[in-house]
């Protein structure tokens, strides 16, 4: 098993544009690491640099501590599966899967047997003689996966492996990737723009905006402990209320709240953050609850999301989102009371610009 490390990796095109800026990251042995970020943030560039298809402008890439900067892609042992599967159109399925072994000059009989094993592994037994254009999108993706795995790579690089598939094929492919990865224990790096995909697939997530690493951690960290407001926004809508922390009390423009977070945050300007599903809605006043009026609602099956404006006459109004179980029916215009459970509040430390907000 191989540990991949990126050491202040830079990729610059032309003179000023930094596609990847000073990226340092560890992809641990035998785990799935997701590089997550919006389209065009430099994720695929990182993957191509690890594969050896693009030279970094500066920085280093190591596999198990050994620099691979000067190792050509065919000798790195890192196989990349591209976003649009890229099956060779002039080869049938079996020859596509056998490609890597053929390039190494392995004997035909052994190769044929390995191809059969791989076809079985990706549940495509009997498809060996088909041409790529006769396969569905999901089948092509599985052939591409088999073609990558047959060479027993040290590192598997997957570029948006689920993005071209519709919903039920996504689940199937996700389960296949997870089970194969657990079975084979290959260090895997997945690139995706979909936070849900990253969370489902990965043991570790690295969030990248504009070529810069924003936060690394377990999937739950990004939902429960985002470091900055943009990160929190990327993982779904969140309520942000500027305030100042004094011990376990947070003073904000819509009232003060008690806080019982597990992490130590220094006193000073903060952004009080709470996810819509953590806000409790009721029709009667409680301690520390904020009065508001329902502006609009969206029914989403398992829950209903309400947009609520605070209505305390002494304080400036603020729009917040809150979810309630579908059986709780508030109408637009109803008066409701919002309660923020102290243990569900997360604080984002704010630098000096609190006052201007």
């Amino acid at each position: 098993m191989t540990e991949v490390q990126l050491h202040s990796l830079n990729k610059q095109y032309g003179n000023q544009h930094h596609a990847v800026a000073d990226l340092s990251l560890v992809a641990p042995c035998g785990q799935i690491t997701a590089l997550l970020g919006p389209s065009g943030c430099g994720k695929t560039t990182v993957l191509k640099m690890i594969a050896g298809l693009l030279p970094p402008t500066s920085g280093d890439i190591t596999f198990d501590g050994q620099s691979v900067r000067l190792v050509p892609p065919e000798k790195r042992g890192a196989v990349m599966a591209f976003q649009n599967h890229l099956l060779f159109p002039h080869l049938n399925v079996a020859d596509n899967i056998a490609f890597g072994l053929k390039m190494r000059g392995e004997p035909g009989a052994a190769t044929r047997q390995r191809v059969e094993e791989m076809l079985e592994l990706v549940r495509l037994t009997g498809y060996g003689r088909r041409q790529p254009h006769q396969l569905s999108g999901g089948q092509k993706q599985r052939v591409a996966l088999a073609r990558a795995l047959i060479v027993q790579p040290k590192v598997l690089l997957l570029d948006e492996p689920l993005s071209n598939l519709d919903a039920h094929l996504r689940n199937e492919m996700r389960d296949l990737i997870l089970s194969l990865q657990r079975q084979l224990g290959i260090t895997t790096i997945v690139v995706t723009h979909d936070q849900e995909e990253a969370v489902i697939l990965a043991d570790r997530v690295a969030l990248i905006f504009e070529g810069k690493l924003q936060q690394v951690g377990e999937p739950a960290d990004f939902y429960e402990r985002p470091l900055t407001e943009p990160i929190a926004r990327f993982f779904g809508s969140v309520n942000f209320i500027p305030g100042v922390k004094h011990g376990s009390c947070i003073e904000t423009s819509i009232g003060s709240f008690s806080w019982a977070g597990a992490v130590d945050v220094p006193d000073g300007p903060v952004k009080l953050t709470i996810r819509p599903e953590s806000v409790l809605l009721s029709d009667c006043q409680q301690e520390q609850s904020v009065p508001g009026r329902v502006l609009s609602h969206v029914y989403a099956g398992t829950h209903t999301r309400f947009k609520i404006a605070t209505t305390d006459p002494a304080l400036p109004p603020l729009e917040l989102l809150a979810d309630a179980a579908s059986q709780r029916r508030f109408r637009d215009g109803d008066t409701v009371f919002l309660h923020f459970p102290p243990e569900k509040i997360w604080l984002i430390e704010e630098p000096e610009n609190f006052a201007t907000n």
Binding site: F82, L86, P89, G100, M103, H133, L157
Partner: protein, 279 residues
């Protein structure tokens, strides 16, 4: 196979489905050859007779005789055309790749320069080339003829390959590299199969253009390199219609055969020519 059907439908010209197309092609390609065929067997054929009044095998027995030089000319033409085809492919591949895949400063100027020989009559520069070739000893030689044929051939080869590479996904090569292919293996197992139809089309152009060069061969070859067109013009001037007709058929036959063998690459199905619209 909805994808195949779709690509066929998108690229197929409405005419290819017309039942009139095949007869039309046959008439336009085969009909002009019929008088030639008759002439090659004619001994006496004067106006107003519809067919020759006397037949003979004279022309054909002359063409196949050793003294006619036809065999040697056929050999020269084939050798020159093959050399031109291979050389133009070797030059056209990197040029087409650069022009088709990358954007760079002065690309339009380069494209224009490459197109010029196709627009301008080559005879305009042939004299200059001849003088230059005389100085460096390339005149009157096979190599000189091959090199001068490259001038009218290269625009077609380069432009065909440019359009092929404009529709080419470079990631296929990266994919092959990460699967363990060395650069040479990538070219052989990935690039070449992908561009093969375009290469065949460009090669067909190159072969036929070189095959039909007369003036350049005569000028640079200086009468030392006898190709079929050179021989053909000599007989056409002599006024011997029967031998000229037989020679014309010998001249056309290889080109027609080649065309038949490569015709499947010319159908828009594999987008070898379809990409020309991108230029």
């Amino acid at each position: 196979m909805p994808e195949t059907a779709k690509s066929l439908g998108a690229s197929a010209h409405p005419f290819t489905r017309s039942p009139l197309l095949l007869p039309l092609i046959l008439v336009s390609v085969v009909a002009p050859l019929i008088p030639l065929l008759i002439w090659s067997f004619a001994h006496r054929w004067f106006f107003p007779a519809v067919l020759p009044t006397e037949w003979s095998l004279r022309a054909w027995s002359y063409v196949f005789s050793d003294s006619s030089q036809v065999a040697a000319a056929l050999g020269n033409s084939t050798a020159v055309a093959l050399a031109v085809t291979v050389l133009s492919a070797v030059i056209g591949l990197p040029a087409g790749r650069a022009l088709g895949l990358y954007e760079f400063r002065g690309k339009t100027a380069v494209l224009f320069l490459i197109l010029t020989p196709a627009i301008m009559p080559v005879i305009a520069v042939a004299m200059g080339i001849h003088v230059a070739f005389l100085r460096i000893g390339l005149a009157d030689s096979h190599l000189g003829v091959v090199l001068v044929h490259l001038v009218p051939v290269l625009p077609y080869m380069v432009l065909t390959l440019t359009s092929v590479f404009a529709n080419y996904n470079l990631d296929f090569e990266g994919q092959a590299r990460t699967l363990g292919a060395r650069p040479g293996q990538v070219f052989w197992h990935v690039t070449l199969p992908a561009i093969w139809p375009g290469l065949m089309v460009g090669g067909l152009f190159a072969f036929i253009i070189s095959w039909s060069q007369y003036l350049l061969t005569l000028l640079i070859g200086g009468g030392q390199v006898i190709t079929l067109p050179v021989l053909l013009f000599a007989f056409a001037n002599s006024g011997d219609n029967a031998i000229t007709a037989a020679l014309s058929l010998v001249f056309i036959a290889p080109a027609l055969l080649l065309f038949l063998f490569t015709s499947r690459y010319l159908t828009g199905r594999n987008a070898a020519l379809g990409g020309l619209g991108k230029l």
